[in-house]
C-alpha cells in the first residue's frame, strides 16, 4: 500500500522543500538535470538545464522504464530493482526509487561520476522520504482530503476546455 493514499496532493510547503532538496542534489552531484516523477509518470519537480529536454516525455518514459523493470524483478522473485543506470557516450542517467512510489532521476556527464551521484542520491533520497512521511502524517491528521478544486465543476467548464 502506498503511504499517501491513491491521490498525491502536494502543497506549497512540501513543494518548496522538495525543490530545495533537488537543488542541493543538482549542485552536490554536479548533475545536468535532476528530476522527480511519481511511478505513474507525472512529473513532480525538476531542476537544472531543462530547456533542451522534453521533461514530460522524460517523465513518462522513465515511469515506463521503471514499471517494466519492476515487472522483470517480480518475474525473478525480486521485490524491485531500486537503482537503474544507463550509460551513454556523453550523458548518463541514474534512476532510483524513493519510498517505493517516487522516482528520482539524475542526468550527468563526465563532469561528475557514478560514485559521486550514488553518494549524493542516497542522502537526497532520505530527505525526500522525510518530506513524504510528513505529507502522509499531515494527511492522516487532517483526515479528510481538502475539498477538491473541481468540486463545483460544470459541464460548461469542461466544454470550454475543448473549444478552440
Amino acid at each position: 500500500m502506498s503511504m499517501l493514499g491513491p491521490n498525491l496532493v502536494m502543497y506549497e510547503e512540501e513543494f518548496e522543500r522538495i525543490n530545495s532538496i533537488l537543488g542541493r542534489l543538482w549542485v552536490d552531484a554536479n548533475a545536468k538535470i535532476v528530476f522527480l516523477v511519481d511511478k505513474n509518470g507525472q512529473q513532480i519537480a525538476a531542476k537544472g538545464d531543462l530547456e533542451k529536454v522534453d521533461t514530460t516525455s522524460l517523465a513518462s518514459l522513465t515511469a515506463g522504464n521503471v514499471a517494466a523493470t519492476d515487472g522483470l524483478a517480480r518475474l525473478i522473485g525480486e521485490k524491485e530493482f531500486s537503482i537503474l543506470f544507463h550509460e551513454g557516450e556523453r550523458d548518463n542517467i541514474h534512476i532510483s526509487i524513493v519510498a517505493q512510489r517516487l522516482i528520482l532521476v539524475v542526468i550527468f556527464d563526465e563532469r561528475s561520476s557514478l560514485g559521486l551521484v550514488r553518494l549524493r542520491v542516497r542522502k537526497a533520497a532520505q530527505e525526500l522520504e522525510e518530506v513524504l512521511n510528513d505529507m502522509a502524517n499531515k494527511a492522516a491528521q487532517q483526515g479528510q482530503a481538502p475539498v477538491s478544486p473541481f468540486a463545483e465543476i460544470t459541464d460548461e467548464d469542461i466544454d470550454n476546455l475543448f473549444s478552440e
Binding site: 491513491p6 491521490n7 498525491l8 496532493v9 502536494m10 502543497y11 506549497e12 512540501e14 513543494f15 518548496e16 511519481d38 511511478k39 505513474n40 509518470g41 507525472q42 513532480i44 522534453d54 514530460t56 516525455s57 513518462s60 518514459l61 515506463g64 514499471a67 517494466a68 519492476d70 515487472g71 482530503a145 477538491s148 478544486p149 473541481f150 468540486a151 463545483e152 465543476i153 459541464d155 467548464d157 469542461i158 470550454n160 476546455l161 475543448f162 478552440e164
Partner: protein, 194 residues
C-alpha cells in the same frame, strides 16, 4: 490516480486507450496529435516495433487549458493490443484515471473484442480498480468498413454499464474527439466527487 499540485496549480490525469490488436488505438492518438494546436500538445511518443505495432505504449500529453484556475493536463496512453504483450499491457494501467475501450467493428474481430474486454476487467481489478466505477467510455471503430456488426448488436455485446458509446473512423477523425471529450468529462466529474 490523478496528481494535483496545489503549489503549481496543475492537475494531471492519465487516460488509457485499451483494445485488441489493430483496432485503432494508436490511430486515435495520432489523429488527436495531428489536430491539436502545437501549444496544447507535447511529443507523441510511440514505442513500436519496426512494423509499427505498439510494443510498449504510445504517449501523448495534452494541455487543455485551465479549469477553476488549475492547468489541466491529460496524459493519453495506448496499450499494446496483441495478446502476447499481456505483461506490458497490465503495466500501463497503473494509476489510470479513465479508460477508453476501442472495439474493432469487423465481424471477425468480435471474439478479440470480448477477450480484451474481459482482460481489461481483470487487469483493472489487479490494480485495485473496478470497471463499474472507473470513468469509462466505449468506441466502435472502423465504421467505414464493409463487414461490420451493427451498432445495436455491438452495444449488446460490449456495453457494460451504459457507458457513453461512440462510432468512429479514427484515421479520418470521426468520433475521435467526441470519445476523448466524453472520457475527460467523466474523469473531471470523478475528481469533483473527491
Amino acid at each position: 490516480m490523478s496528481f494535483i499540485n496545489y503549489a503549481s496549480r496543475e492537475i494531471n490525469c492519465k487516460i488509457v486507450y485499451y483494445g485488441p490488436g489493430l483496432c485503432g488505438k494508436t490511430a486515435n492518438l495520432q489523429y488527436i496529435y495531428d489536430k491539436t494546436s502545437p501549444q496544447a500538445k507535447g511529443q507523441l511518443i510511440s514505442l513500436a516495433t519496426e512494423t509499427d505495432r505498439t510494443l510498449f505504449f504510445d504517449f501523448l500529453p495534452l494541455d487543455l487549458g485551465t479549469v477553476r484556475g488549475f492547468r489541466t493536463r491529460f496524459h493519453l496512453y495506448t496499450v499494446p493490443g496483441q495478446v502476447f504483450y499481456e505483461a506490458s499491457r497490465k503495466l500501463i494501467l497503473k494509476g489510470v484515471d479513465g479508460v477508453v475501450f476501442v472495439a474493432d467493428s469487423q465481424r471477425e474481430r468480435m471474439d478479440a473484442n470480448l477477450e480484451l474486454l474481459e482482460n481489461l476487467k481483470n487487469n483493472l481489478r489487479e490494480h485495485g480498480f473496478d470497471i463499474m466505477t472507473i470513468p469509462y467510455v466505449l468506441q466502435f471503430n472502423k465504421r467505414d468498413l464493409p463487414n461490420i456488426v451493427s451498432y445495436d448488436e455491438m452495444y449488446r455485446l460490449l456495453n457494460i454499464k451504459g457507458e457513453p458509446t461512440f462510432e468512429a473512423v479514427a484515421p479520418q477523425g470521426m468520433g475521435v474527439f467526441e470519445t476523448l471529450k466524453a472520457v475527460a468529462k467523466l474523469v473531471l466529474q470523478e475528481l469533483s466527487k473527491k
